[in-house]
Structure formats: C-alpha cells, structure tokens
C-alpha cells in the first residue's frame, strides 16, 4: 500500500517527533517500502490463531503492595535537564 506524506506527518505528531521537509520525504519513501514488505503477512491464514504477545505467558505477577523506601528526591532529579530542587520544570502548559 502507498503511504502519503500527510499520513507520515500525522504519525510524526503522534510519535512526538518534529521532522523537516526532507526527512518527511525520506521517511515516507522508507516507511512505504517497509510497510509493503511487511504486508506479506496478509498471505498467512491466522483466522483460528490466538495472538502471542509474549514468549513467557505469565499472569498474576504483581508483587506485594508494600511500602518501601523510594529514590531520594535529589537522586531522582539529578539527571533532569531542568529542575528547581523540588520539581521538574517544563514549558508552561496553560497560557
């Protein structure tokens, strides 16, 4: 199937990526070629097949809900690009 540049632009918004015009063109061509390749899966009859999301199909793996020490605030904030010692700082969300 062909992929339009507009579709790729919409996906870049969903993926939280800014792409330049040249990148959009390149990405459109590359994704179209990969998507065409993966469409061969359409040949396989999977009507009676259960999906397999994981090689080890585990369930009920929740750990006990116990209070434990957390990472100290200083350590949690240490790698943040912008912080004020108490919070992570981000551009204003409300105008």
């Amino acid at each position: 199937m062909s992929l339009s540049r507009e579709q790729v632009e919409m996906v870049s918004l969903l993926a939280r990526l800014s792409l330049t015009a040249a990148e959009l063109d390149r990405m459109t061509a590359q994704l179209a070629s990969i998507v065409t390749y993966v469409e061969q899966l359409g040949e396989v009859d999977t009507s009676a097949v259960e999906p397999m999301a994981h090689a080890v199909e585990l369930s009920g793996v929740f750990r006990a809900d116990e209070l434990r020490p957390s990472l100290p605030r200083e350590a949690a904030l240490a790698n943040a690009p912008q912080q004020d010692g108490e919070f992570y700082l981000v551009p204003a969300v409300l105008g």
């Binding site: 800014s18 994704l31 990969i34 994981h54 992570y88």
Partner: protein, 495 residues
Amino acid sequence: MSLVELTATEMLAGLEAGQFTSVELTQACLAQIQQHDGRIGAFLKVLGDAALERAAEIDARRRRGGPVGRLGGVPVAVKDLLCTRGVTTTCASRMLEGFVPPYNATVIDRLHAADAVIVGKTNLDEFAMGGSTENSAFQKTRNPWDVERTPGGSSGGAAACVAASMAPLSIGTDTGGSIRQPAGLCGVTGLKPTYGRVSRFGLVAFASSLDQIGPLAHTAEDAALLLEVIAGHDPLDSTSVDRPVPAYSQTVRQPLAGLRVGLVREHFAAGLDADVERAVRDAVRVYESLGAKVHEVSLPHSKYCVATYYIIAPCEASSNLARYDGVHYGYRTATDVTAEATDDEGALVAMYRRSRAEALGPEVKRRIMLGTYALSAGYYDAYYLKALKVRRLIRQDFDRAFEQVDLIAGPVTTSCAFKIGEKVDDPLAMYLVDLYTVSANLAGIGGLALPCGYNAQGLPIGLQLQAPPFEEERLLRAAHMFQQATDWHRRRPAL
C-alpha cells in the same frame, strides 16, 4: 601466548595458581584497549582506574585466603545499554549523553557479586537498533578481522572487544540477533538465552518482549561460566522466570550422546553465501563424526519472521522510547519553542518534538515512526495484531521441530561481515541481515553462535545452534563438543 589471549577459564586457573594477578590481567586488557581501540572503536567508556582498584582489592582478598567470586578478578566489558550506578549509560544516543543512573542493572550487581572486574562500556547501535554498530551517535565500531567492515550489531562493541582480546568476556543484548549476529561476524561465541532466563532489570528497554541479555566469549566454556553468574530469577523483573540455574560451567564439558541435529529446509535457500553454506554443512558433518544423527526439519513460517519482527519490535520500541521527552532525564532542546508551538500542540508538546528530533538518530526515528504507524487507529489489527498471531505460528513451528530433534543447526547470517556503509542507506536490506536470528526472539527460545570457519578473505563464519526454551545447557554442551573437535575458536585477528 600473551595474557589477553587467554580464555576466561584459563585466566581463572592462572589467578588461582598464582601465576599472575588480577591487576596484571586488567593492566594487560587496558593496554590492549589503549593500543588498538583507536582503530576498532569497541568502547564508549573505559573504566581504567576503577577496574584497577577493584582488581587490587580482589587480589588482596585472594592473597589473604578470603572468599573470591566465580569470576574472581577476570575482566568483563558491558554493553552500554545496561545501567551502571554512577557511570554514564548512554545507549550510544545523544538522548542519554551524560545520563548517570542512580542504580545498577541486576546483571551488573551479579557481576560485582561474582568479583568480575568491569573494564568498560561498549559501543552499540543507538538503543540497540541496528545490525552493524554504524548507528551509534558517537562512533562506528570496526571489525577486528577487517577494519573496513562492520562487526555486526547491535552488540558490535561487545563482540569486537572480545575478538580483539580487549576483554575475555562481555555482556551483550539480543532483541533480533544482536548477540549472535556480531558474534558470528567477529568469530566469537555468543549466547542469547531463553527469554526470562536473565533479568532485564536495568536494561534500557528496546522491545520488551524480545530483549534478552547474554554472554559473549571466546569459547562455550567461558560463555557457560558467565551465563551461570548472570542467570536466575529476579523479583525486580516480573518476566524473569523462577527456575533453578543449572551449573552450566560444570556440565558444559559433558558431551551429548545420541544428539539429533535438525537442519531447516528453508535455511538453505537462495541468498545464502556459498562459503557460509559450505562451512555450516562441514560443521554439521563434525557433529555426525561425533555420533549425532542429522534430520531435515521444516519451519514453514520462517519466511515471515523478518516481517513479523519488524512490526512487533518497532511497536514496542515506539512505546518504550516515549519516555525520552526531555523532562525527567536525557536531552532537552536549547531552542525556545514558544514561537513554533501551534495552538493544537502547545509549547510542551513542541518541546518534546524538538528535543526528540534533535537527539535521536535516523534509525531510531524510523522505528518509532513505524511502530507508531502500526499501532495507530485503523492499522492496529492489520499490522500489530496480525504479527502477534503469526508470532504464535512461528513458535508452534519450533515446538513441532523440537519434537523431532534436540537442536537446530544453521547459519547465523547469509554472508560474512559486510563493508561499513554498504547497507546504511537501505533499511530493508539491513533488516534482512537478521533473517536467521529473529525467529529465536519471536519464539522466546535460546540460540548460540560460534565460529565454524573462515572465508577466502579470512572473515569468520558463524554456526547457529537453537534449542527449546531453557535448554541453554544443551546449547553450551553441543558448542563445547564442537570446540573440542575443531580449533576455529582459537584463531585471533592480526591487529
């Protein structure tokens, strides 16, 4: 033979016999790195002082007669995808340049507990996405057998550093073949354990249902030792499986009697290099000479493995890499995005988009885009759900094959190491490099690559062995049998 060319098992014997110290060994590895890594580019970070300090501490303990761990004083390198407390963990991405984790991956803790000496963090394709280690944001790693060629990827640094005798052991990760493929192309032994065998806690996630950590070494015996140290249940990883860890390092020397080796009909098709096919068939004859019986088996869905993988892995990657938004850690754009923010997205989303655009490389962006597309409304059933169903069929193929044989033997890659830059502009060609390896990740089974020959240009050829889930012991024993009967694994590149 110089110290650095010894296997880890030989190093341990020498350390225990007092023939040399861990400090001497570590110095020898550091000197080898210093002398050759400028050309090879295997390491992103060398931990010289810390390694020597650690080695001295282990030597002192051994001299006092104190307890020493299973790897007591042996140098080990670690792929820079595993979190190391207080040491930068970059995943070869500008996004995590300067990121210093406040905790260790479980595998790192287990290496410390076994008294390994960690000599450095090795290069990889950015976030482990790639098959050539050309996608690192910082440097390309070169194949020690021919520096014009790639070492494979994504654990190219981990494989190259062992091949170049910079460390006898290294830790890699394998999402679609990233341990086995570079092991095959660099002439070393690499094992992707069964999914769940080794804790992924502290491994920076690429595709969580496929990623697995494993050892690279010169020999199966050394890989057995390293796997024994890192394997086992971890309460911090809910997907790690709670079952006992066999004494791989002890059982590896026991030959397998009555071994049934499977050759997959679909593996020997058009596209397989003639030298690779010849070496693999010769390797199978070695097994026959050791008493194994060879049977042809079929994996009818193997032609769909790469397509299945390149839906599932990018879908999981797009979700896992959503965390890199320039807020909690990682790169944030220096540009004031206020002006470019639209009414729809606002300044925060504009900041996310620009930060990710500036810090992530082309391959990572491509996979995020592919995964986001395949998971988006209207396409989920056609791509992601479909791939999950085909994944089950792939697993069922293996289950049926393993009713007839104990192991599957075959090529690791269609050809020997390719030239740097050769496939870099053709993502699909690069994805097809994983043809023989991705199936093990999709099915969750174990796979091992070991050297089985060299082509006319002197480039290594790998043999892949695959076994049912949790049969690493069988893989390692079979690989050791082969290495007792051949000497391909003893060759070292002329640096």
